[in-house]
């Protein structure tokens, strides 16, 4: 078996080392342009974010992303309840819904909705470190079962990028990545303050923002732009290849 040393050694030989490596490989400080981007994002007022909403609306259309007009938590809650009631499950008849364990989603308090009393509402809870390996495994299997069973998955997102209608979602305890993937319909509820203009802004934050740096990208970061799609049969665009067929986005207005 080839060792890392041999493998890399061959590459160094091919590169004609010992010429030194480039110094600016891993950038260590933001450029002035990047500093400006960071400053811009941090000082942005809710008013300055309003044009992004319009952009988001426009780019959602060709992406087949359902961008909903509701802004208040109460209206969004109602709209989600309506969606759950109106939409049909793809793989069976039982209606189950799974969601992240996330403060914003917890505050929707869907579990209290009388209209949903016949519907199973699951939450992907963190796996407690105190559990034994076996218990952890059991909990994961339970989550997996619930995700598979659910026809709607509800998540939030770390950021939402207006120019490309992209949701950026890190994986954390309680925020299972399969919730935005396996159910046929993905609902995302995002705070307006998480709106960014462009992917460049997102990457600048991921790279230079202190909190982001401290957390890292996590072991799984997904950028999702619209529902799943394919053009593999005669280039005819079909939505719902393997991932969600529908993606619904709700923006929660700033309370400030």
């Amino acid at each position: 078996m080839t060792t890392q040393k041999d493998f890399i050694g061959d590459i160094s030989t091919a590169l004609g080392r010992p010429t030194p490596a480039a110094v600016d490989l891993f950038t260590v400080a933001p450029t002035t342009a990047e500093q400006d981007i960071l400053k811009n994002i941090r000082q942005r007022s809710p008013g300055e974010r309003q044009p992004f909403i319009k952009t988001l609306q426009e780019v959602s259309v060709p992406l087949h992303l359902d961008f909903h007009p509701e802004r208040s938590l109460e209206d969004i809650r109602q709209a989600i309840i309506t969606l759950i009631l109106e939409k049909d499950p793809e793989w069976g008849t039982k209606k189950s819904v799974v969601r992240w364990d996330h403060p914003l989603l917890n505050s929707l308090n869907l579990e209290a909705a009388a209209e949903l009393k016949d519907i199973s509402l699951y939450t992907t809870s963190p796996v407690a470190a105190t559990l034994s390996a076996e218990e952890r495994q059991q909990q994961r299997q339970q989550t997996r079962k619930e995700v598979e069973e659910s026809f709607i998955g509800i998540t939030s997102a770390d950021y939402c990028i207006a120019a490309t209608a992209t949701l950026a979602m890190k994986t954390r305890p309680g925020q299972a990545r399969s919730v935005s993937l396996v159910p046929s319909i993905h609902l995302a509820v995002v705070e307006e303050s998480k709106l960014l203009a462009t992917l460049e802004e997102l990457y600048t934050l991921l790279k230079w923002d202190e909190a982001e740096q401290a957390e890292g990208l996590t072991n799984n970061l997904s950028l999702v732009s619209g529902p799943s799609k394919t053009g593999d049969i005669e280039l005819v665009m079909v939505h719902g290849a393997h991932g969600p067929r529908e993606l619904h986005l709700f923006l929660v207005a700033d309370r400030s």
């Binding site: 490989l25 990047e34 993937l181 992917l199 799943s228």
Partner: protein, 480 residues
């Protein structure tokens, strides 16, 4: 499934040209994607600098590949992943097989990955009794029909909805329909079962980020996310060149890749995978293996003429504008890598002599370079390959391709060097050309070695006097 047979280029090209369905598909694809990609390039806020800069980013990564790969490996290990290095195709396959056997893997779901095609992974796993499913819809269709890909990004565009309908009815037992959404739903259902039961997911890697220690996969269907989220083991195959140093550089390259591949601002799903699920996470694979593969790449790296080729991100944009690819289709190239990119990469990976026709069979029109998100100079490298084929090159184990052609060109050179002999030969040809069949001053059949020309077009006869003669005569008239 693709077998490596670039030596059949001409033969397979003929088949492609004669296939009206393929012609229509290729025409439609090029009409749609080529201009749309160009439009996107021109509308980016970074302006025309974006592509040359991205080229520099890639070039810098390639020039520092040892540092970047070491960093990536360390970081991935730090995230709990296992990193393997494979010098050869066989070794890569062995590593994956071992992981599969040790974990008693029965079913594998694969996200689209060209490098696994390159190393011949599927066959090796199937020999062990493991079921392997391609999950990209196009790849899945080809797996069912047992064909090679027509396009890097849209592998099954040569199949009509009718053929796919028949295929699905036969192989999946689904009711016959020619409706693409319904057909897609059939595949969705069939593959969902596989995703849910698979115990290993295999992906490629579009572009790793060294500083964060993540591989990145891009898809629109979501199949790669499924393959890398649901099974308990995720194995990622990565050609050793598919890496970039830092996030900001990756950002621009991923966008350019999406523009090149599908005329999108960004692919539908871009996933960063750094390692297996952490202990307190409720889903994701329990093991993450990254197999970094050389398989001939360090040889390309060592040759300054071809190092640039390692910048390629396999987006397929060059296919969408190539006039030759647009007529012959991807299967003609006899390799998982087709089109202009394949014409350079296939010889370098699988042998220059066996791929001689791939090197010579293009017009050098430069459309590929113009369309490439990284402005990779494919025509320059085709010329370099051709030069190796005419002279031979021990470093690359190239034998001179054709003594006959070499003789012809050295004869041509002697002629070209001396205007007197040149003119004498022209006089002779002018006489002889009257013996050739002609219509209205146009020769309809030329002898060897020019006969190919008149297979499908005529040729104007040599003029009674060359321009040089005419020039001299007018000048003499003027002077007298």
């Amino acid at each position: 499934m693709s077998t490596i047979a670039p030596e059949k280029y001409k033969e397979n090209a003929s088949k492609g040209i004669a296939d009206p369905v393929l012609q229509k598909a290729l025409g439609g694809l090029q009409d749609r994607l080529g201009p749309a990609t160009e439009k996107l390039y021109n509308s980016q806020p970074e302006g025309h600098d974006m592509r040359p800069r991205a080229h520099q980013f890639r070039r810098k990564a390639i020039d520092n590949l040892d540092v970047l790969l070491s960093t990536l490996a360390d970081k991935v290990r730090g995230h709990g992943g296992i990193v393997h290095f494979a010098k050869t195709a066989e070794e890569a396959v062995e590593i994956c097989k071992k992981i599969a056997l040790e974990n008693d893997v029965k079913t594998v779901v694969k996200g689209k990955s060209m490098v696994t095609e390159e190393v011949g992974l599927n066959l090796a796993l199937e020999k062990e009794g493991i079921e392997v499913y391609e999950t990209d819809l196009g790849e899945y269709i080809l797996q069912l029909s047992g064909e090679g890909p027509t396009h890097i990004v849209a592998p099954a565009i040569h199949k009509t909805r009718r053929e796919i309908a028949e295929l699905f009815t036969e192989k999946l037992g689904t009711p016959y329909t020619e409706d693409p959404p319904t057909l897609t739903r059939y595949a969705r259902k069939a593959l969902r079962e596989k995703f849910l039961k698979a115990d290993m997911g295999i992906s490629g890697c579009n572009l790793a980020c060294a500083e964060t220690g993540h591989i990145v996969t891009v898809s629109n269907e979501g199949n790669i996310r499924m393959s890398t989220t649901l099974p308990k083991i995720h194995v990622a195959f990565m050609g050793m060149e598919r890496i970039v140093a830092n996030l900001e550089e990756q950002q621009s390259i991923l966008r350019l890749m999406s523009m090149g591949a599908a005329a999108q601002e960004i692919g539908g799903y871009v996933s960063y995978v750094g390692g297996p699920a952490q202990a307190d996470h409720s889903d994701g694979p329990q093991e993450f293996h990254l197999i970094i593969i050389d398989n001939g790449r360090s040889k390309i790296l060592a040759d300054p003429e071809f190092r640039e080729m390692l910048c390629c991100i396999r987006c397929g944009a060059c296919l969408n504008v190539c006039p030759v690819y647009g007529k012959i289709g991807g299967q003609a190239y006899g390799s998982p890598y087709c089109g202009p990119v394949g014409a350079v990469v296939t010889p370098l990976l699988f042998g220059i002599n066996t791929s001689a026709d791939l090197c010579a069979g293009e017009t050098l029109c430069g459309a590929c370079k113009q369309a490439c998100p990284l402005e990779i100079n494919l025509p320059r490298m085709l010329l370099a390959l051709r030069s190796k084929l005419s002279d031979g090159d021990p470093d690359w184990q190239v034998q001179p391709k054709s003594k006959g052609e070499n003789l012809l060109f050295s004869g041509w050179q002697r002629l070209n060097n001396n205007r007197k002999i040149y003119d004498t030969l022209l006089d002779l040809m002018r006489m002889l050309q009257h013996l050739l069949p002609a219509k209205q001053g146009m020769i309809t059949r030329l002898p060897w070695p020019f006969s190919g020309w008149t297979a499908n077009r005529n040729m104007k006869k040599l003029a009674p006097k060359t321009f040089m003669q005419q020039w001299k005569e007018t000048k003499e008239k003027k002077d007298s």
